[in-house]
């Protein structure tokens, strides 16, 4: 015990340095973990605060989970979260790598910089702004797309109440926002490839296409694999802003726009089903945790330095 205190004193400057951050983690990350116990309770808000609300709520065991999984909602939100993320990961990967290779092959580096600057812009905008952008195209009576349809004598479409278009819209908007950013990541590692490899290939008479296929892509594959696995590890987490702001929280679209995160939010703010929403959140955390651990394990096997931990 005395040795312990002696060590504390010896490390006091460092301990003082981690203190603010550690307190933050305690309140914003570790205390909420205690709060997840609500998933097993019939939550009743108490005026006496956080602890009283948790302690006084009745213990119901797995009932919240049973109820959650007996509804269609659990299936819908899981399906939407998984399939949208899969589409984002794989279409996004192909397009960003293609765009990075394309940019690296351009003659005239000034123009390449200009293009890159344009592509990077959407990444810096909030989903609220992007929601407005989408609205300027999709608005029923004023939007650009309906006007164009009008020129061709086609019927106007009420975009915000037609679920069938939304999987495409959401994938498109997400790719629009993320490709520029991701292609910069890949471009940075293409720039790091040893130029003499290409010179050697050219002397051997390799075409540009062969160089890309046999030099660029193989040398990019470690970073491609790592970025993809890390994204797969987060496949159970949806981008709340995309699914909440872009469809303008339109109720008729929930079937195709509701994901785990929006479901939990609505449970908290709209429907008030706290216990069940916490259960959905815990379900997300647990499955998400398993996926992160597995993907990190795989990343570690491939390249120790790129693993998260």
């Amino acid at each position: 015990m005395a040795a312990f205190f002696k060590n504390l004193v010896k490390n006091k400057v460092m301990l003082f340095m981690v203190l603010p951050g550690a307190v933050w983690f305690f309140f914003f990350s570790y205390l909420p973990l205690v709060g997840t116990i609500t998933a097993f309770k019939q939550y009743r808000f108490s005026r006496d605060g956080f602890w009283a609300s948790i302690v006084r709520s009745e213990w119901v065991g797995w009932d919240n989970f049973k109820f959650l999984f007996s509804t269609n909602d659990a299936f819908t939100i899981t399906r939407n979260t998984l399939f949208y993320n899969l589409a984002f990961i794989f279409i996004g990967l192909v397009l960003s790598v293609a765009m990075a290779i394309l940019l690296s092959e351009l003659v005239g580096k000034t123009m390449a910089k200009v293009y890159q600057t344009g592509m990077f812009l959407p990444y810096f905008l909030s989903w609220v702004i992007v929601g407005y952008f989408a609205f300027s195209f999709l608005s029923m009576d004023r939007g650009m797309i309906n006007q164009i349809l009008g020129w061709f004598g086609m019927e106007r479409i009420n975009w915000y109440s037609e679920p069938k278009y939304w999987p495409y819209i959401l994938v498109f908007v997400n790719l629009w926002k993320s490709i520029g950013y991701n292609s910069v990541v890949y471009l940075a590692s293409i720039m790091g490839i040893d130029k003499s490899l290409y010179e050697a290939a050219m002397i051997d008479g390799a075409t540009k296409w062969q160089q890309i296929r046999n030099i660029t892509v193989p040398l990019l594959s470690p970073i491609i694999i790592i970025m993809t696995l890390l994204a797969v590890g987060r496949i159970f987490y949806a981008d709340f802003g995309l699914f909440y702001q872009v469809p303008r929280d339109s109720g008729t679209l929930y079937q195709v726009t509701n994901v785990i995160d929006t479901y939990v939010y609505r449970g908290l703010k709209t429907t008030g089903e706290i216990g069940m929403s916490t259960a959905a959140g815990l379900y997300q955390s647990v499955v998400g945790f398993v996926l992160v651990m597995v993907s990190n394990y795989v990343v570690r096997k491939i390249d120790k330095d790129s693993a998260l931990f």
């Binding site: 060590n7 400057v13 460092m14 301990l15 340095m17 981690v18 603010p20 951050g21 933050w24 983690f25 990350s29 205390l31 909420p32 973990l33 709060g35 997840t36 609500t38 605060g49 609300s53 092959e105 351009l106 003659v107 005239g108 123009m111 390449a112 293009y115 600057t117 344009g118 592509m119 990077f120 812009l121 959407p122 810096f124 909030s126 989903w127 609220v128 702004i129 407005y132 300027s136 195209f137 608005s139 004023r142 939007g143 650009m144 490709i179 520029g180 050219m202 970073i223 709340f240 802003g241 702001q245 303008r248 939990v264 908290l268 959140g281 945790f289 992160v292 693993a307 998260l308 931990f309």
Partner: protein, 305 residues
């Protein structure tokens, strides 16, 4: 000779025709990324009545500054939101830089006995979290931060991922030998951090600072959860609230000279778009900085200890 040099340069590159095609693809995509913003700017300068008959047009029949005039005359709520956003961005970025740089430094030092414990303490938060509702309960009920600016600042202040990036940055850009020699000269840990480590890691701090600035500027989620008081609404969140109705401004406008008839002739659609433009402009101006340090940050983050 010049001819030969040009030839060999051409030899490295794709053919002229292909190059044109590639330029076209990259150019079109790049334009598509910027186009919606240009479109919204055009809408904001369109006459409201023209909008009602023609819809959103690239080349409106009649231009108008009415929307901006309205926003500036009656938009004290816009100004206040700007103020809130600027305040939380400045204070938040400062707080998070201090906390993150200190924490990252401590766990990067081998002489710190508890470095493993505190590394794990941070990393665990990346892997498992309590989720939205328990966090909401802690912030609103336990800490009582609902309807305070702290609810907009504190939840975004720390991030284990930034700690890891900065720790890597310290270990690659601050040579161990410098720290050792300072220690031999009798410098304390805090002095070393302040006088040697921080100045050497300015690019890393700039990257984290910009990530953080952008996070605060674009945040609407915490306001959605924690803020009901219209005086504390940040910019992005205000844009959400006016989405359904411009009445928000009317309610909160101190400008009582607006008569009922004046209220009816408010340029609703265009002034909404004008606010979107005004909220985006600072990002467009800061863009060159952002872009430079983000690319740098990406390459920094890619190298790990």
């Amino acid at each position: 000779m010049a001819e030969l040099a040009r030839k060999s340069k051409d030899f490295h590159n794709v053919s002229r025709g292909w190059n044109a095609v590639l330029h076209l693809i990259a150019g079109i995509f790049s334009f598509l990324c910027v186009f919606p913003f240009i479109f919204v700017v055009i809408i904001s300068f369109t006459d409201e009545k023209t909008l009602a008959t023609d819809g959103y047009r690239l080349i409106p029949a009649k231009w108008s500054l009415e929307a901006y005039r309205f926003v500036f005359e009656s938009g004290d709520s816009l100004l206040r939101s700007y103020g809130v956003t600027i305040l939380i961005t400045l204070v938040g970025t400062l707080i998070s830089l201090v906390m993150i740089s200190l924490y990252a430094y401590a766990i990067s030092r081998k002489s710190f006995r508890y470095r493993r414990f505190f590394s794990v303490f941070a990393i665990v938060t990346m892997l498992f979290n309590g989720g939205m509702i328990p966090t909401y309960m802690v912030v609103s009920q336990l800490m009582g931060l609902k309807d305070t600016l702290w609810a907009l600042i504190l939840p975004l202040a720390m991030n284990a991922f930034y700690i890891m990036i900065l720790r890597t940055f310290y270990s690659t850009s601050v040579p161990e030998a410098i720290i050792e020699s300072a220690r031999i000269d009798g410098a304390g840990d805090f002095y070393i951090f302040l006088r040697i480590v921080l100045p050497l890691s300015l690019p890393g701090l700039a990257t984290i600072g910009l990530f953080s600035t952008l996070g605060y500027w674009n945040d609407w989620f915490n306001a959605l959860l924690y803020i009901d008081n219209p005086d504390l609404v940040p910019l992005q969140s205000m844009l959400m609230r006016i989405e359904s109705s411009i009445a928000f401004i009317q309610q909160n406008s101190q400008n009582s000279s607006l008569s009922l008839t004046a209220l009816q002739s408010i340029p609703q659609d265009t002034s909404r778009m004008a606010m979107v433009v005004l909220a985006t402009l600072p990002i467009i101006f800061a863009y060159p900085f952002f872009q430079r340090y983000f690319v740098q940050g990406l390459t920094v983050g890619a190298v790990k200890e």
